[in-house]
């Protein structure tokens, strides 16, 4: 069951990567990247349950935090085009 779940997650990751490559607009790519990060978290969770090492779940937490930070930075740059201090 875990193997099927991880295969499905990998297929979804491939689809998200394809969308990020093709994506004509910025928002396709942002959504694809966000989805890719989420799928990474899912893959780590599934793999850690499959191999019985559930202490890897901390890493999944860190990944979701990093995904959020990267996404906020990307979107801020997309809207304002700068990181100067008055835009914060």
């Amino acid at each position: 069951m875990f193997a099927v779940a991880s295969a499905a997650v990998l297929v979804t990751m491939t689809l998200a990567l394809t969308r990020a490559m093709l994506g004509p607009t910025v928002f396709d790519r942002v959504l694809a990247l966000n989805m890719f990060g989420t799928k990474t978290v899912l893959l780590i969770s599934v793999v850690s349950f499959m191999s019985g090492r559930t202490d890897f779940l901390d890493l999944a937490l860190l990944y979701s935090l990093m995904n959020f930070i990267g996404m906020v930075a990307l979107l801020r740059f997309t809207t304002t085009g700068t990181f100067s201090e008055e835009s914060l």
Binding site: M13, A20, T40, L59, G70, F83
Partner: protein, 187 residues
């Protein structure tokens, strides 16, 4: 498990080629984020959670923000190459072949008679349970406790470097742009 590793390596290769070929730098930064996530999960599959932790925090988190800050100061589109130059392709191919040739000498992963398992490791495995009050991970014990002073030194060096860069950048903006030295926040 092997199939997952092959799939992740395939996705890594695809992402790397995309990063090299894409001209929109904003999208390239986005693909480096994907690359970091992929390589971190691959390191996790190789049983290196500490390296994976660092890769996720530094590669996917901080370096994305840093590269976007760089992009805010420069242009968003890379200039297209005017002609095909075979020299970089040749250098990359030769280096890759040399690296693959080098891996042929490495012992198989997880073999019990690897040098790493014979020489320093047994002592760490035997002592870390008692020394570290039962930490489940020997690598964490070595990194965080046995090498504690080393890590403290590294952190001091990195902190000093970051402080120096901040001081230099802060003075140049104050001198040229606008006299606004009250803001304390930084990325």
């Amino acid at each position: 498990m092997n199939l997952i590793e092959f799939a992740i390596l395939g996705l890594l290769a695809t992402t790397a080629v995309t990063i090299a070929r894409i001209r929109d730098l904003w999208a390239a930064i986005m693909f480096t984020g994907i690359y970091s996530f992929l390589s971190a999960s691959w390191m996790l599959l190789l049983d290196a959670p500490d390296v994976s932790f660092t890769e996720a925090a530094v590669g996917a988190g901080i370096s994305t923000v840093l590269m976007l800050s760089t992009l805010a100061l420069t242009g968003k589109v890379e200039k297209a190459p005017t002609r095909f130059s075979p020299m970089p392709l040749l250098v990359v191919t030769v280096t890759g072949c040399a690296l693959v040739y080098g891996t042929l000498d490495m012992p198989p992963m997880g073999a019990a008679d690897d040098p790493i398992h014979l020489h320093p490791n047994p002592g760490f495995v035997e002592r870390s349970q008692a020394d570290m009050h039962g930490l489940p991970n020997v690598v964490t014990a070595v990194l965080a406790s046995y090498r504690g002073y080393d890590t403290l030194g590294e952190t001091t060096v990195v902190f000093t470097a970051g402080l120096a860069v901040l001081l230099i950048l802060r003075r140049s903006t104050d001198g040229t742009a606008k006299p606004d030295g009250t803001a304390e926040s930084n990325e």
